[in-house]
Symmetry: C2
Subunit: 709 residues, 2 copies
Amino acid sequence: MHALHPFFHPRSLAIIGASSDPERIGGRPLRFLIEAGFAGALYPVNTAGHAELQGRRAYRSVLDLPEAVDHAIIAVPLPAVEQAVTECARRGVLAVQVFTAGFAEAGPAGAALQQRLVTIARKAGMRLIGPNSLGLINPGAGLFATFSTLLNGVRPTAGGIGLATQSGAFGSATYGAAALRGLGLSCAVATGNEADVDVAECIDYLAEDPDTRVICTALEACRDGTALRRALLKAADAGKPVIAMKIGRSALGAAAAATHTGGLAGNDAVYDAVLAECGAVRAGSIDEMLDIAYLCEATGRLPAGPRVGVVTGSGGIGVLMADEADALQLTMPELPVPAQQALQAILPFAVAANPYDTTAQVTSVPQGVERVTEVMLEQGACDTVIAYLAHVGLSPQRFAETEAGLIALKARYPHRHLMVVMLSTPEVAQRLGAAGVAVFADPSRAMRALGAAWALKSRRQDLHRVVPPTAEQLADTPALGAVGTEAQAKVCLAHAGLPVPQERACASREAAMQAAGEIGYPVVAKILSADITHKTEVGGVMLNLADADAVGQAFDELMRRAATHKPDARLDGVLIAPMVRGGVETIAGAVIDPIFGPMLMFGLGGVATELFRDVAFASAPLTAARAQRLIAATRASRLLDGWRGAPPADRDALADALVQLSRFAAAHAHELDAVDINPLVVREHGCVCLDAVIVPRQAPNPQENKELA
Amino acid sequence: MHALHPFFHPRSLAIIGASSDPERIGGRPLRFLIEAGFAGALYPVNTAGHAELQGRRAYRSVLDLPEAVDHAIIAVPLPAVEQAVTECARRGVLAVQVFTAGFAEAGPAGAALQQRLVTIARKAGMRLIGPNSLGLINPGAGLFATFSTLLNGVRPTAGGIGLATQSGAFGSATYGAAALRGLGLSCAVATGNEADVDVAECIDYLAEDPDTRVICTALEACRDGTALRRALLKAADAGKPVIAMKIGRSALGAAAAATHTGGLAGNDAVYDAVLAECGAVRAGSIDEMLDIAYLCEATGRLPAGPRVGVVTGSGGIGVLMADEADALQLTMPELPVPAQQALQAILPFAVAANPYDTTAQVTSVPQGVERVTEVMLEQGACDTVIAYLAHVGLSPQRFAETEAGLIALKARYPHRHLMVVMLSTPEVAQRLGAAGVAVFADPSRAMRALGAAWALKSRRQDLHRVVPPTAEQLADTPALGAVGTEAQAKVCLAHAGLPVPQERACASREAAMQAAGEIGYPVVAKILSADITHKTEVGGVMLNLADADAVGQAFDELMRRAATHKPDARLDGVLIAPMVRGGVETIAGAVIDPIFGPMLMFGLGGVATELFRDVAFASAPLTAARAQRLIAATRASRLLDGWRGAPPADRDALADALVQLSRFAAAHAHELDAVDINPLVVREHGCVCLDAVIVPRQAPNPQENKELA
């Protein structure tokens, strides 16, 4: 049994702080539970010593109850909460919800009190939701263990959608909207301050819950990335789609702000990557989340592939849907010849294309809609067929025959997705939905929901189960050591298996000239200083030095420039490196995300990265195959195919470098903030790290963080 | 009186081909009109000679009618249409709608017949909608002059939204969805084959129609860009928002496909530019179009500015709305100190920020919501205040006092936008909407609609009334002449006032060496051939030639390469130009759009343009101020500000070059397909056209078009 089971399926429930007033926070859950006919034992508790509350026998303390209840709600004033939790623990309660506010959200004293509640609960093996939570519901069990006033206006019904949010208001807004659409819920829970149970654990529960077929969630202040990943993967493995909203922009890791990778890791890119890797999709609004959830719930499965066939009585709407499909990862294939012939036999005047515009002729042929839809389902080589039927669903009697025909078709072709777009009465939509035929009113929204469903399916086929280094591997990894200068960083990366040019740190003019001679001209000279991160900004790089004289002058000039621009910088001399020409400049990096740990980043350098944020993230470590897909996920990766007649760049070598970097980041996650390799030049054969910065873990610098936020 | 007025406000209406069967195409409009109590005279016409049809006295021919009717519907079989139109013209009908199909959409014979109808109508001064149209409605007048079966299921009510579409199915899908939301319509019209009246003229009518306050439209096959621009501008001048959907990707101008500008002009970029210039916004779905229309209609005006204040009982929803605002052109300013103090006086425990999270405390203060909302309206320095009220609208009695308070607030602050986001009953939303308080269920959709309303307002403040060259100016413009080679194109652009480098076309090795000496080293050599558009692809450019020997060798080498790569190309020698270093590479171009005429394009060159389509279009000619905004509209324009320590580039010179190019394109629109200046290098002082291609108007080449489509 899952540890959260008693919250959602209690055989008995106590309300501590229950009220006779059905409008008060302690009175509402009691009223809701009675009204909904909650079948378990229900025990109002109030220290005032009422004989009964709202018609139920009342108790002075949870200690007086005749049994150890599964689930207790605590809705007493702040000063009484600790004692209530203590008594629950003593009485053997399995699960408590604390509705009372004034804890961690209110300051240090509240945080300390909250921590004491956790200690009490943990010691007793009792689980705790809240404090400062709005409650949870399980409509199928008549369990409305919440004080949400939403239930004054609408009562959610039972169904397959499970909802886990931190914010109670967000949760009730969502399940209220679901209820108004006629979408049923398995359960919905708001975790509040998450002193013990968090959203990730609720997703973990929903992944197991047999009543839940689709999971919706809103992510706000996730603290345990590992638990979230595990829960999402568990849901994916259980075949349950997860549709997530992310509220608020992700915080920028503090010291990582000194690198490009760190700066780009903000703005939700890391969340996007983790959700995709774990098989979830992200929705941009509550309506969109419910659109996707409805489609998944009604059809009962995800589409087998991206191919869509559209049957439409309106050419314009067909084109609109084709435009939308084109903007998603969906395809609208041409119809196979047998399908075309079958359609032409039914409707000789319509052109058998996709979208298939039936023209008005379809209305003059008996069962016209059903017959052409069947051809599309059977012979159309499509995974999903969408029929646009205008507004026939608003006239249930006229539509009855077609409705029955569509339901029969769905039964005959269960492995295909069948969707209908039309205006309809709620009853018509409900009947079709119950038969597995999803009904949408808006053609664009229908196609977008299908796009998300296909994304769920394709992501499920490509889950990323991050394998962190083992304890043995970590024990074998030497400590990072000094990485302040470019030369030190490159030595470190070379040890990690990354390709760095043959180059020399030279402390004197003479050493530089000698090194250049040995490396071979032309060479590059770069200032070496742990205090100068962005060398170009101080004029600290000189290219294309053709002979020893030029190298000697460059040494003096670089030292002069650095001293002028950054008088307080410690200068370690100059780095002499071979001049690399040609190739494609990319940027590779890693950042240790405070929530999700080591993340790899790849992008094309320069404008693409900085102006267009055309970068892709993946959890580290990763495989070469996943590195290849990461590369392909950037729009600028087309440059690697050979731009304007250039030879194709060596993607295999690049992928290998990314794999090595990801392993390095994972192995040093505890002592690292970020790595930038910029540029990582990819050539026709091989690639090379021309410049690198490694930022070891350090105390956050609030000022820097603020500037870049 | 507008020419289309008789269609929408007929004093009398004939239905030619009227049927006694209320389900047939000729029977439906008669039934709908009778059911809706159309107040004008209603004349069923049918050659069968019925005494009456559906209870109304019937006539054998329109010639037998007792009066010259304003509006006649023609719903007879194809062979009888021409005679019906002829008789309408003879009887003095002002406006005919032809529902019958089988005209231009069915082939050449239908197209010829359609043209004859137009000729008959034009000669008689009679206007014609259709053929192949679904009809039009004016619910306020009980005018349901359509055969749309939508009206079997739902009957639109009167209101301020006017709808013009070409597709009848798209139109009825939209007004059906509007009706289900309780949104009223002034009128809706489907133009079908647009033999005479098109969507642009309907927008023109709606811009004048006193019952219409907001205009929705779907653009499919616009043929007259000038008329569309004029109608959109007229609506903007009349203070009426236009919300447009574009169906289908815009066709690629055929010969323009040889240029970058032409290739980028596809994909709707030109439509986007024209709609924005004419004050309209584009919606991505029917639901979104109706969201925006509802907001405009309910509030009765556009927001005064982009500043939004959010009052919310849920922190999470507040952050969600702030995220959304951030992604739009909206701002959420900090609250002025007096507003903060006023809020703190009402709710001491809430932090007076924006979004303003009232916490649960607001429920324990009498009129808490109304009081804090008033502070935001009065002192919040916001143009719009959005109150998130969860689901209170589902409990009308509990909400009654707040509802009255909000309505009173709106009356007190009419110049501010007031929006409420909550779940509610339709009646509550209807009452608030009628009082000018817009109600949305979904917080993200509310914010997006507001973003569109603000875009409408800001675009209205910056309308682009394109002034084409006068006949005199055109008469003074010399013909384009030969522009096949780069050198010819540059001469042409130099005449037009664009900055081109001092450079020479050289037919021989000796001439090249002499020219280089006069220009000054280093120089660039480029192959000169009207048959080679993309010189780099044949290795036709050699940079940085330092002396006469290098120039001589380059001449031979370029001629050899060109002959090898393109043996059939005519070679005119080599162009010698000064080597330009530094500066920012941009691309400027012009394309003559088949619908909208001369359009200017600007973008940063290279990756930004080709991979990210980070380009901006504007109608030509334009002013320097608009050229500056065009530059600023590209994301890559930040490179002009001085990238990585480079000096800022000369935006004024760039804007001036764009103005000259736009004038050139407008003056030569009749003999030009496209111009590419790539790169147009912008330096610290001035800019220079390093390469240019001019494509004169030529016969379309379907093959090229197909490849690039």
